[in-house]
């Protein structure tokens, strides 16, 4: 296989520049949303071939998780998709709860659903802002960040952090909402739909937007399934697959919402799907807030949830000899967490996020595997970018909604 390095060297050494033309886009290109590097083979300005090169943000999350206990692993999950960290927390916590056989209280389920949907709105707002900015609409960027800031302020009140929440914990959530937060969220859900309308006024029928998005990167339903695409990208092609509907987790089974789908599978349809999802998320938050009043005063953590400090090894407790009271922990080792394996997947804002964990009985995961949507979506870039212009590649990266922290792990 001739590597990109060899090709580059050859090109530099020879004086004459010949077709095809090779170009490196990234890893420091402002439009590649982080440290994505694309090696392009060009014919004029048309992309003949495209090779994504990733790994610039690799931190070894999966290996690192093997040295940390289950609650500490949730802290790592914040750093995967740092735009919607509440969704990552939930995926990890769901897998660990399945492993330990915990039942989460209803109030905690509702709270998780609310923070997950807030994360979805946060993510889609940031996506819309950067996508529009890449294509050339500046005002949308400013408006979206204004509204995202509001949600981040609410997050700050909920859990004390704006970006890396660590709010979800095994067996529930870390703390309850206050009345102040609930009131503010009600206010947000009331004021948000008109704002979505504002964004649409700016770009929905704008002729520049339509020219840049309609008919760009068309993916048929069959291709989308074959490429392993999930989330809004798959739904834009007309496949109504949504984990929230197919395998409801948390409180999604009891709320009412629609899964929006597109028709043509182009960039514009994916944009429409995400805009509709913003509205549906708003609806879900509203319904969950109404349900919160039913569970007033209930605990937010399961009775048999593990402590934050999960020990590595535990020995069998034995009663002490009679004069001294209490128990001593000696004798054979007993498993802290039941040995076995568990799999959980959620609908993260970017697509299906799945966690597979294997336990050997100690307090740490023996193996942890994360299936992140961004990684799969990056692998679809070569297919989508073929025979498009370089300018359209920017739109394709934007429409896939990639976060490199998510893909490189």
């Amino acid at each position: 296989m001739t590597t990109y390095l060899e090709i580059n060297k050859k090109q530099v050494n020879e004086e004459k520049w010949e077709e095809p033309f090779y170009l490196n886009m990234g890893p420091q290109h402002p439009s590649t949303h982080g440290v994505l590097r694309l090696f392009l083979e060009l014919e004029g300005e048309t992309i003949v071939n495209c090779t994504p090169i990733i790994g610039y943000l690799h931190r070894g999350v999966e290996k690192l998780a093997e040295t940390l206990n289950y609650n500490q692993t949730i802290v790592l999950s914040d750093r995967l998709d740092y735009i919607a960290s509440a969704a990552n927390n939930t995926a990890f916590a769901l897998a660990f709860e399945k492993l330990m056989g915990l039942e989460v209280p209803r109030r905690a389920k509702l709270l998780r659903t609310i923070v997950c949907e807030m994360a979805r709105i946060c993510n889609h707002l940031l996506w819309l802002a950067t996508h529009a900015l890449d294509i050339g609409a500046m005002t949308v960027f400013l408006y979206c960040f204004r509204d995202r800031e509001w949600l981040l302020n609410i997050y700050e009140k909920i859990c004390g952090a704006r970006l890396t929440h660590t709010y979800v914990r095994i067996g529930g959530v870390r703390q309850d909402f206050t009345q102040e937060i609930i009131d503010e969220l009600y206010k947000f859900t009331e004021e948000f739909p008109p704002r979505i309308y504002d964004y649409e006024t700016l770009i929905d029928v704008n002729r520049i937007w339509l020219k840049r998005t309609k008919g760009i990167a068309v993916v048929s339903a069959e291709d989308a399934i074959n490429l392993g695409l999930t989330g809004p990208v798959l739904r834009g092609s007309g496949v109504p697959y949504d984990v929230r509907k197919f395998r409801p987790y948390d409180a999604y089974g009891e709320v009412d919402f629609i899964v929006p789908t597109g028709k043509n599978g182009d960039t514009y349809d994916r944009y429409r799907v995400r805009m509709e999802e913003l509205r549906q998320s708003n609806r879900i938050i509203r319904q969950c807030l109404d349900k919160l009043s039913e569970t007033e005063g209930e605990p937010v953590l399961a009775e048999n949830a593990p402590d934050l400090l999960i020990p590595e090894k535990v020995r069998k407790p034995e009663p002490k000899p009679v004069p001294k009271k209490g128990v001593i922990f000696k004798g054979e080792e007993v498993p802290v967490v039941p040995p076995g394996e568990a799999f959980a997947s959620i609908e993260s804002p970017k697509g299906e996020l799945a966690v597979y964990v294997v336990s050997d009985g100690s307090g740490k995961p023996w193996r942890l595997r994360v299936r992140t949507p961004s990684f799969v979506h990056i692998s679809a870039i070569p297919f989508m970018a073929k025979n498009h212009l370089i300018a359209d590649l920017i739109a394709i990266i934007g429409t896939l909604d990639i976060v490199l922290g998510d893909s490189d792990r």
Binding site: V75, A161, T164, T166, D176, F177, L202, N206, D307
Partner: protein
Amino acid sequence: MRILEKALLIEILKGLALTLRKMLFARPVTIQYYDKVRPIPAPGFRGRHALVRDEKTGDTLCIACLRCVKVCPSRCINIEYETDPETKKRKIVKYEIEALRCVYCGYCEEVCPVNAIVLTEYYEYIGFKREDLFFDKEKLLKNWDEFIVTQKRPYLNPFWKPRGIPEKFLPAKKREFTGV
């Protein structure tokens, strides 16, 4: 009709009208930092670390149980202690936090059985050298003194006693705790 709309740039004019309306009638949401400081962060914001100063002894409350050391995901806490041979009580000699390693998850303050450590709501701190953000015991106690004068007493950090957590999960001392 479609052609007329297109020729007259109706959709672009609509967008321009929206931006003009926002420009004239909406208030700016940006803050001119540093002239105008952002409103105080919400209670429980996970900011600069501090060790709570015991008002009776003037020293820290820490009992060197090492729970914070064990729970820290980034392993940024380092404690050295000595044991009194007579009373069998532990006393800390060294308490160090490397703030540059810290991920601000707040687990340490949640597991502390005596509420000795806290992530204060103070967030405007910088250092010109790495050592400036390497907090030893004296610096941590100083952080607390700086922070507590800006707060209403008694002060209770939400993570010392998380809302809605069953009492079973709290150590005995934390259950009746109402603040310092």
